[in-house]
């Protein structure tokens, strides 16, 4: 028993030691012939169709990055593996080496930059308000005394808290355990407004029973740069990812990808999300950068 424990301890030590040194993702990809993409199961930018199939704007963009990395390394074949991640485990899975590149809906902010690196911003999320079309709510000032729902484990909760203090509003805050749950609270009248990323609101409304019952109203509450996440201190891999993103912006393929996932009917239900490219995202594409959320301002 003791021997087994010792052996286990040594292997664990060796494994963590190996991981700590493997900060050269390109070398790792070359030697294993595989890249692991971190993907989301249900978010506005990436989701699953079941049976291990992952799709979406950011997921497909990540596949193209993998393709460019394959070309750069001169590999004849690159095995793309998918690892579903959640808000809770995405950072640990990137830092411990399970995931090489996470392209989901991760906000680039200062707190996270202490642990991971971010590629160029590829999407700028705007936090908005969704309400029942008949409610008469047109902006944050109408939310006084109302019940507002957001989803647990998102940055929108903080946005809401900041606005609450800044505008001196008093409202009741409830939290859904996931977006579907939050939207259900709006649908069933348990909440008057749902505050969340614009893409998630648009996707939930388009998938609801009667999309015309709901609308997105009011000012943009916060803007958040969304970017692919990778391990820190790996400049060669970051450059490869950034170069691929710039290539996709320059040759217009990223814009086409956006059109396909946000303006055209998409699986599984073949419904349009209907979220035109925002000025903020366009600006990020024109001036590729990896600035965190803190350097953005609400206009």
């Amino acid at each position: 028993m003791k021997k087994q424990l010792l052996a286990l301890a040594i292997t664990t030590l060796a494994a963590t030691g190996a991981l700590a040194q493997a900060n050269d993702t390109l070398a790792k990809i070359k030697s294993t012939g595989a890249i692991t993409l971190g993907v989301r199961e249900s978010s506005g930018l990436g989701y699953t169709l079941g049976n291990g199939k992952y799709v979406g704007f950011h997921t497909e963009m990540a596949e193209r990055i993998a393709g460019d990395v394959e070309k750069q390394l001169g590999l004849s074949k690159l095995d793309v593996k998918y690892q579903p991640v959640t808000s809770q485990n995405r950072i640990p899975l990137v830092t411990n080496g399970t995931v090489d590149l996470e392209c989901g809906s991760t906000t680039n902010n200062m707190a996270r930059q202490k642990e991971v690196a971010f590629a160029y911003t590829t999407y700028v999320e705007e936090v908005r308000i969704a309400v029942n079309a008949k409610s008469g709510i047109t902006g944050i000032k109408d939310l006084n005394g109302k019940t507002i729902v957001t989803t647990t484990g998102t940055t929108s909760v903080q946005t809401l808290r900041k606005n609450k203090r800044a505008d001196g509003l008093t409202f009741k805050e409830v939290m859904g355990k996931d977006h579907a749950d939050s939207f259900l609270m709006l649908e069933t009248g348990r909440a008057d407004a749902f505050i969340m990323d614009g893409s998630i609101l648009a996707a939930n409304i388009s998938k609801s029973k009667t999309p015309s019952d709901f609308k997105v109203v009011g000012e943009v509450l916060s803007v958040e740069p969304i970017a692919c996440m990778l391990r820190k201190d790996d400049p060669a891999f970051k450059k490869a990812v950034d170069d691929s993103i710039v290539r996709q912006i320059k040759d217009g393929s990223l814009a086409k990808l956006y059109d396909r996932w946000f303006m055209q009917p998409i699986p599984p239900a073949n419904v349009k999300v209907g979220l035109p490219l925002s000025a903020a995202t366009k600006e990020a594409w024109e001036h590729p950068n990896d600035k965190p959320m803190e350097s953005y301002e609400v206009k």
């Binding site: 809770q88 707190a111 940055t155 939290m175 069933t188 348990r190």
Partner: protein
């Protein structure tokens, strides 16, 4: 892995570490929030436990009544209903479905609905323990009550239940501890308890390990406190020479 326990002293809006780890003048630090979340967890658990014990004792007793087949059927139906549906589904039934059927319940806060759902769910399990406790008693106990001229109520009150409850204290201890752990489902309907705090705070601070360790610690402390209280109850109601007192033997 480096630790950063300072994270609990951060303000929840500015993310700055203040002089004291408790917020002043309307400011809320993560520590303040953690303690309030703990308060919600404890409140949900204790109130559910109260409901579970009362309802469980009544339903369990109903199921052992002689000559009252309908009371037995009612008790059985209650237990089977609550024990065959997962707890999370119960919570959703109570939160989303029942209020659409009974509009008067729409105004009830999530907290109340969770307390009922968790309390009733656990009551089914306690009822089963009470029933097995009563059935474990020798048949002579009931006859003794009848021979004394006791009514059925008196037989239960003075003879059967006092012994049955002593027998089932160990499984009852597990159940009371389970309530603390099961209370984590309350986050699904927007009760700001420990699990919700953990999900939200780790997202805001990116210090998931510290946050989850703190929450784990508080769950352990709460469940173990109940465990110690139950151990004390078990010891203080022990009857010398009766069932399993100090190494067994009837």
């Amino acid at each position: 892995m480096s630790w950063d326990w300072q994270v609990f002293c951060q303000d929840t809006i500015t993310q700055e570490v203040g002089a004291s780890c408790f917020g002043k003048g309307g400011e809320i630090t993560y520590l303040d929030w953690l303690l309030s979340a703990w308060g919600w967890t404890v409140s949900v658990s204790l109130l559910s436990l109260a409901i579970a014990l009362v309802v469980g004792a009544i339903i369990g007793t109903l199921r052992t009544l002689p000559n009252s087949p309908w009371a037995v059927r009612l008790g059985n139906a209650w237990v089977e209903y609550f024990r065959n549906i997962p707890l999370l589904v119960h919570i959703f039934l109570w939160y989303h479905v029942i209020p659409t059927l009974v509009p008067a319940m729409k105004s009830l806060p999530g907290f109340v609905l969770v307390v009922f759902a968790l309390g009733f769910f656990t009551s089914a399990r306690i009822a089963e323990q009470v029933r097995s406790g009563v059935l474990a008693l020798p048949r002579g106990q009931r006859y003794a009550g009848m021979a004394m001229g006791f009514t059925t109520f008196q037989t239960y009150r003075y003879v059967l239940l006092p012994m049955a409850f002593r027998i089932i204290i160990p499984p009852l201890t597990s159940e009371t501890m389970n309530i603390f752990k099961n209370s984590s489902v309350a986050f699904a309907v927007s009760v700001a308890e420990l699990t919700m705090f953990a999900m939200q705070a780790q997202e805001e601070t990116a210090r998931g390990v510290e946050v989850y360790l703190a929450v784990t610690g508080l769950y352990v402390v709460s469940a173990f406190a109940i465990n110690r209280i139950m151990a004390w109850v078990e010891k203080s109601v022990r009857v010398p020479g009766l069932i399993a007192a100090g190494g067994g033997g009837h």
